[in-house]
Subunit: 344 residues, 3 copies
Amino acid sequence: MKLSFIATKIGAELKGEDLEVSSLTSLDQATEEDLSFVESRQYLPQARASKARALIVPPELAQELEDGRSLLIAPQVRVAWAKAAALFWKEPPRPSGISPLAVIEEGVQLEPGVTVYPFVYIGRQARIGKNSVLYPGVFVGEGAQIGQNCRLYPYVVLYPGVRLGDHVTLHAGAVVGADGFGYAQEIGPQGLKHLKIPHFGTVEIGPEVEIGANSCVDRGTFGATKIGPGTKIDNLAQIGHNVEIGEAAIIVAQCGLGGHARLGPWVMMGGQVGVAPGAEIGARAQIAAKSGVTGKIPPEAEVAGIPAIPIRIWRKAVVAFAKLPDMVKDWQKLKKLWGGKSEL
Amino acid sequence: MKLSFIATKIGAELKGEDLEVSSLTSLDQATEEDLSFVESRQYLPQARASKARALIVPPELAQELEDGRSLLIAPQVRVAWAKAAALFWKEPPRPSGISPLAVIEEGVQLEPGVTVYPFVYIGRQARIGKNSVLYPGVFVGEGAQIGQNCRLYPYVVLYPGVRLGDHVTLHAGAVVGADGFGYAQEIGPQGLKHLKIPHFGTVEIGPEVEIGANSCVDRGTFGATKIGPGTKIDNLAQIGHNVEIGEAAIIVAQCGLGGHARLGPWVMMGGQVGVAPGAEIGARAQIAAKSGVTGKIPPEAEVAGIPAIPIRIWRKAVVAFAKLPDMVKDWQKLKKLWGGKSEL
Amino acid sequence: MKLSFIATKIGAELKGEDLEVSSLTSLDQATEEDLSFVESRQYLPQARASKARALIVPPELAQELEDGRSLLIAPQVRVAWAKAAALFWKEPPRPSGISPLAVIEEGVQLEPGVTVYPFVYIGRQARIGKNSVLYPGVFVGEGAQIGQNCRLYPYVVLYPGVRLGDHVTLHAGAVVGADGFGYAQEIGPQGLKHLKIPHFGTVEIGPEVEIGANSCVDRGTFGATKIGPGTKIDNLAQIGHNVEIGEAAIIVAQCGLGGHARLGPWVMMGGQVGVAPGAEIGARAQIAAKSGVTGKIPPEAEVAGIPAIPIRIWRKAVVAFAKLPDMVKDWQKLKKLWGGKSEL
């Protein structure tokens, strides 16, 4: 692939010879035929040592990297290399059409270009959009709807009636639409009993959403659990019933969102965060990994801790926390010293 | 469905006309044909704005809601509406009988009314009770036993020999009976080696248990991991080997219970709690989300934090935690001020 | 099985009669035909009460247990009983050969002794080593390689191209090789957009690795995510893209390792630990359950907390934490008392 072609596609400026490159990879793995990239100044030594034939670089590093190699100068380097990588990406080849070893119940609509691998089960009245791929063992419940160009990896489970937009990717083992965790506590003569609350609702997943392996999105009690367009969810995350997530949120692995939690658009959440049932997180808020969110987090806020507090306070508080043993010692001495003279 | 019929079934008193309602839903989603419910005073404005034809309400709100609509007055509203919802719930229709695309090994006992979907695998000598449903791809290991009226959703895996009571529900991807995480650390010439400890034990799941999607319950090393009757476990939870959980516990998503942990009856546990191996939690204790439990928690206790402490102390301590940066500053000033005069 | 035979196999010294035992189990479950074991002094009362015909014991307890029973004296008792247990362990019988209900694409290499259960899917050019077992519903992506004597339990998913060493065990629902969670944030006119970064890399899993049910190991962006020989990973763990784990690490359930994290050999990690992207943990370091690791943890260190600090400080700090409410009260009094006389 010619550098000039790549430059056009990724919106970069080519400086140097218009060479051919055969793939894109990291600085340390690049051979003399590869294109690589320099995200920031800290990678300069690696960049100089790299065998890469050409580099994608930000404008501010272009001069320092002029060593005869061709450069693709791009202001958003990470975006530029992601786009370049997409040019080199080849989806693994796949059989087209419907495997005779799949089970497709009555009334299913399959649009053209759909691939259905063996051992897929599609319940009645389900609808699969154009060019979507159902890998082995995908389960599509009755009446579920899948948009166009979706990828459902092995053993994805869609409970009945859930709806996916276009270009949705669900990784292996993801479960969409299981019952929410809702019970009514009946106080009876033999103690507490948990009556199951039936879940009449569904799940609506917007276009361009990606959900990681073995993650779970529960159906609403009434109404839908909603995941906004472009939201990306990592592996092993739990999205409770009637949660609503706005556009383009980022939810890292093992986060858990309690029922009815609401996330505005562009919320970013580190790994293993817990969000209490009904909590609200404003647009663009950032939640540090392992935090526990309760109540309301305002838009743009950055929070951390259990319960989550503003991250600038949290950062100081955890430093102080490590000094607590010393403080306690002093505090006890102080109490003794001033014991006779004060209320301490 | 007539309101008088519902009133009888849910133990409510009908006030107003004996109308027909066509379904039960939330206040905001209800149409003029629906029944809805008012759980507490905070929903009064929504109740007044709702189009619902009739409402389930607690006695103390009945008078305030007298606006011509029919009311079903019930002391435990949540229990009442859960029961009413169950009246309207229709299990999705399913084929009856055994799919020819399932594999059933020798010596399997299937009681009448069992549904086995395609791609199910049932190992030798397994036993499936009356009216139980095995959705596509359920794996039942050799000698495993499933009670009556169980629902095993797609890709539930039962390792050999595990036992489920009646009316057990396992959501998609739940794994019951994998080996516990047990190794013996052998100190050898090349360093530490982890020798696998074989797991001879099993898992016993009581009646009326529900386990969420992608949750895991490990088999015992010797003897059984036990989950008491009526216990409800959410998605992505981990139950270690030889854990024993009492009756009607509630375990929210992503909790992890270490090997040999013991939970009394009616324990309630928020999401993402960790319980150390061998820890003991007394009856009716409540563990706040994200806590880390070690040692023994007495019955009825309410705890929070890592490690878990009484929640009323924890609540104050986390408020104080956010003030730590200021306290440290004062503490340092104080040490300086009194440095010459005291041991501080 | 004769005690003398067991003694030879586990490196123990037989004291007493060379009896036959029929199985190995725990002290409380043992019958008069069984062998059991005493790991430490705290189990002496149970040992005395046990019906076990013979006991594996450490040298320091041998004398106290001389009550006529035969003893197998072994310095590393836990290692000894694990080895003895392995002698009694019988892998469940399985059909040999390839199920006609499995789908095996072109160019797949199956070495002798491989078992392929029904509903397995093996993609093109994949390679399965001698005596490996693929339980029902295992998915092997194109070009993936599986070593000898591996056990892949139901619904294990190997994405294309991943590689497993010999004697690898993957429990049900484990997913190896899904895309890492990598996006480039493109700032566009309609707000932030997350561009997917294609994942060209793979996963390399060393020999003797065991991975628990529903755990996930993501593929590298470029290059491989690597799991060292003999490492054991529990259920529901998340291993991010390009993570490198050394030899014989222990990772308990629900841990999450961010992208590019590095763990030296023999690292041990309690449950629900989070490791930040790019963090480094030195050889033999021990991370307490629920900790949050950032930056660098030196070899041999023992840490705890969020963020993780040396465990001996953390232990004191959490004690102090519970006293914070009192400290704050005193601190406020102090500020009032000395308010006129100092800067406090």
